[in-house]
Symmetry: C2
Subunit: 346 residues, 2 copies
C-alpha cells in the first residue's frame, strides 16, 4: 500500500491492458449497450487491476456539464439559528438523491440582500457547469435570483416558492392546508379564541401559514379577532414579546398558533414566567418541528414539513431530464404533542 507513486491509470491504460479500444472501455464504464459479455469482463478486470477511476474533469469537459448539483439557500447573517435544522434537512434530502444518481452536492449559501448575487450565482453555475440547481426558500420566491438562474439555461427546481409558479419546476408542501388543519385541531379541543403570531413575510411560504390560519377559522365558524393577531419576526424573542402582549389582554386567547417553532418556544417561555400553565390555561402550537420541539416541556404540538423528501424529489426531478413533473406537492404532517389540550372553561 502507501502513497500513489506512479501516475494514475487513464482510459488508455485500461484499453491497452484489456486489448480493446478506449471507446469500448468508455462503453463499459458508462454502462452503454453493445458490448459482448466477455469483452465487458475483460475490461472490468483491467479496471480493477489498474484501480482505474474515470476523471470527472475530463468527462465533464467532454460532456459539457458536470456531475454537480448546487443547493442554494439563504445565508443567514446570524447563522447560529434554528434555521440550521432547516438547512441540514434539505441537504440531507439532496444528498440522498445525489448519491443514488452518482452526483455530488455543492452547497452555496448566499445573501440575497447583497449586490451582485445574481452575477455571482450565474458565474458559479456557468463556470462549474452545474448539472442542476435547487433553490431553497425564501430565495425561491425572489424574482431576481430566479431570473439569474433562468438565464444560465441550467435546469433548476424551486422549493416552496410560496405561490403558484408559471413555467418552471418546483416542489412545495401544503402550508396553507395544513395550517388550517391545525386550527381544526384546536377548534376540536373547544378553542374559540385562537391567536396567531405571524412570521417573516419576505418568506412567502411563511405567509401562507397565516392564510391557512384564516381559512381554518372560517371553516370552523370562528371569526378573526384582530387583536389576537400579532406580528413576530420568526425569532424566539419576538414570540415571547407577542405572548406577553396576548396574555395581557382582558380577554385572553385560549390558544396561540405560531408561524414557527422558535416563536412558539418564546411563547412557552413567556407563559411559564407568568405562571400560565400549558396546556391547561393556554395551548400553544408551532410550525417546523425543530429539534427543540421534542425537548421542550411540554413537548410542542407543531407541523412538520417533509423538507428532506421535498429536496430529494427536487434533485430527482433535475436529474430525470424529462420535464414531466412541473409541480409536486408533498404534504406536511401534524405533530400533536403535549402543548395543546382542551380549552379551559372560564
Amino acid at each position: 500500500m502507501g502513497q500513489q507513486t506512479t501516475t494514475r491509470a487513464t482510459i488508455f491504460d485500461v484499453a491497452q491492458r484489456a486489448s480493446v479500444s478506449i471507446k469500448t472501455v468508455s462503453r463499459v464504464v458508462n454502462r452503454e449497450p453493445n458490448v459482448r459479455d466477455k469483452t465487458r469482463q475483460k475490461v472490468e478486470q483491467a479496471i480493477a487491476e489498474l484501480q482505474y477511476r474515470p476523471d470527472s474533469s475530463a468527462r465533464n469537459l467532454a460532456r459539457q456539464r458536470s456531475h454537480l448539483i448546487g443547493l442554494i439557500y439563504d445565508d443567514p447573517a446570524a447563522y447560529e439559528l434554528p434555521s440550521s435544522g432547516y438547512i441540514i434537512r434539505m441537504q440531507q434530502g439532496a444528498l440522498r438523491a445525489c448519491r443514488e444518481r452518482m452526483h455530488e452536492l455543492l452547497i452555496h449559501p448566499c445573501n440575497p440582500r447583497e449586490r451582485g448575487v445574481g452575477a455571482t450565482l450565474r458565474n458559479l453555475i456557468e463556470s462549474a457547469r452545474l448539472a442542476g440547481v435547487v433553490l431553497a426558500p425564501p430565495l425561491s420566491n425572489m424574482t431576481r435570483l430566479v431570473r439569474a438562474i433562468q438565464e444560465t439555461g441550467t435546469p433548476f427546481v424551486r422549493i416552496s416558492p410560496g405561490l403558484k409558479v408559471r413555467n418552471d419546476r418546483c416542489v412545495a408542501t401544503n402550508d396553507l392546508e395544513i395550517s388550517a388543519d391545525m386550527v381544526d385541531h384546536l377548534a376540536s379541543l373547544g378553542h374559540e379564541r385562537i391567536a396567531f403570531i405571524s412570521g417573516d413575510d419576505t418568506h412567502l411560504a411563511v405567509g401562507n401559514r397565516y392564510d391557512g390560519y384564516r381559512e381554518g377559522l372560517r371553516r370552523n365558524g370562528l371569526k378573526l379577532i384582530p387583536e389576537l393577531v400579532v406580528a413576530g419576526d420568526n425569532s424566539f424573542d419576538s414570540g415571547a414579546a407577542a405572548a406577553r402582549q396576548l396574555l395581557g389582554l382582558d380577554a385572553r386567547p385560549t390558544a396561540v398558533f405560531c408561524a414557527n417553532d422558535d416563536m412558539a418556544a418564546g411563547v412557552v417561555r413567556a407563559a411559564s414566567k407568568l405562571g400560565v400553565s400549558i396546556p391547561d390555561q393556554i395551548s400553544v402550537t408551532g410550525f417546523d418541528d425543530i429539534v427543540m420541539a421534542r425537548q421542550m416541556d411540554p413537548r410542542l404540538t407543531t407541523i412538520r414539513q417533509p423538507l428532506a423528501r421535498m429536496t430529494e424529489r427536487a434533485v430527482k426531478m433535475l436529474l430525470q431530464g424529462d420535464g414531466s413533473d412541473l409541480f409536486e406537492c408533498i404534504p406536511a404532517e401534524l405533530k400533536i404533542r403535549e402543548s395543546t389540550g382542551p380549552a379551559p372553561r372560564y
Copy 2:
C-alpha cells in the same frame, strides 16, 4: 437579456476579439504577471462584452486538480440531532475560506460503520480530483479513513482528532484545558462534589473532556469521587437518566459537568421534574454551546468551541500549499451563564 441562445464564449473568442493570443487571455484571467496594462484592459473589455466565464472543467483537466474542497463528516443515522448545529458551523467556516480563495465546497457525509467507505471516499477524491479534504471528528480519529485519504495523496486536514498526530496537518481546540477551566469555575464557586457525565468515547475529543475534568479536580485539590462519574451517550435522555441517578445519591453532587449540552439539557429537565432548583441546589454545565443552551431556562453555562474558525483555518491550510503549519490550536471559550452558581451550604 433572456436565454443564452448562442453558444458560450471560449477563451478563443476572447482572444480573437481582443486581438491577442489565448495565452494572454489566460494570463489576464489568472492574474499572472507579464501583461502590459493596455493589453490587459483590451482583454478585460472583450471578456466583459462576451460575458466570458472560464470553464472549470477544462481548467481542472488541464491543471490536474479541481477547485473543490471536500468536507467529510459523520452521517448520523438519526440525522435529526443537535449535531446539526455542529455540522452547520463547520460548513460555515469552510465556506468562508472557500469563497475567499475562489473554491467551492462539496459536502460528503458518510457512515464510517459501513463497508467500503474507504473505497467510496477514495473514489470521490480521485475522480473529482478534490483540491483538498477536511475531515471532521469523529471521523478524524479513525485510522481506516485517514489512511484511505492519505493513499490518494490529496492534501487534507483533520479537525480535532483528539490526540497528538504524527505527520499530517490538523487543527484542534484545547478541549482538555478548557474542561479543566470549567472545573476551576465550579471550584471557585465553592463546589467540591462535582459530578461528571461522560459522552460517547468513539469520539476521542469528547474523551479529552473527561481528562480535563480530572485535571481540573486535581489542580483544585479536589479528589475524584467514583460514584460521581457516570457514563452517558451524548443524548438528552442519557443525561436525564444520569441526573436521576446522581440526585438519588445520599450525598448528592452540588454541580454536574456534562460532556455535552444535550446531556446537560437532560439533567436540567430531570432536576426540574424532581423539584431541584438550578443553580440554587445544583449547578449544571455543558459543552458545545448549542443553540438551545441560550434558550433554556436557566441559560446554560457551557463551553464553546470555535468550530467555524477551526474549519476555516483548515481550509486555508489546505489552500496555502506550504506545509508550514502542521498543527494549529484555536482555544475554546467558557460561556458562563445562569446554570451555575455558588455551592449550596448544607
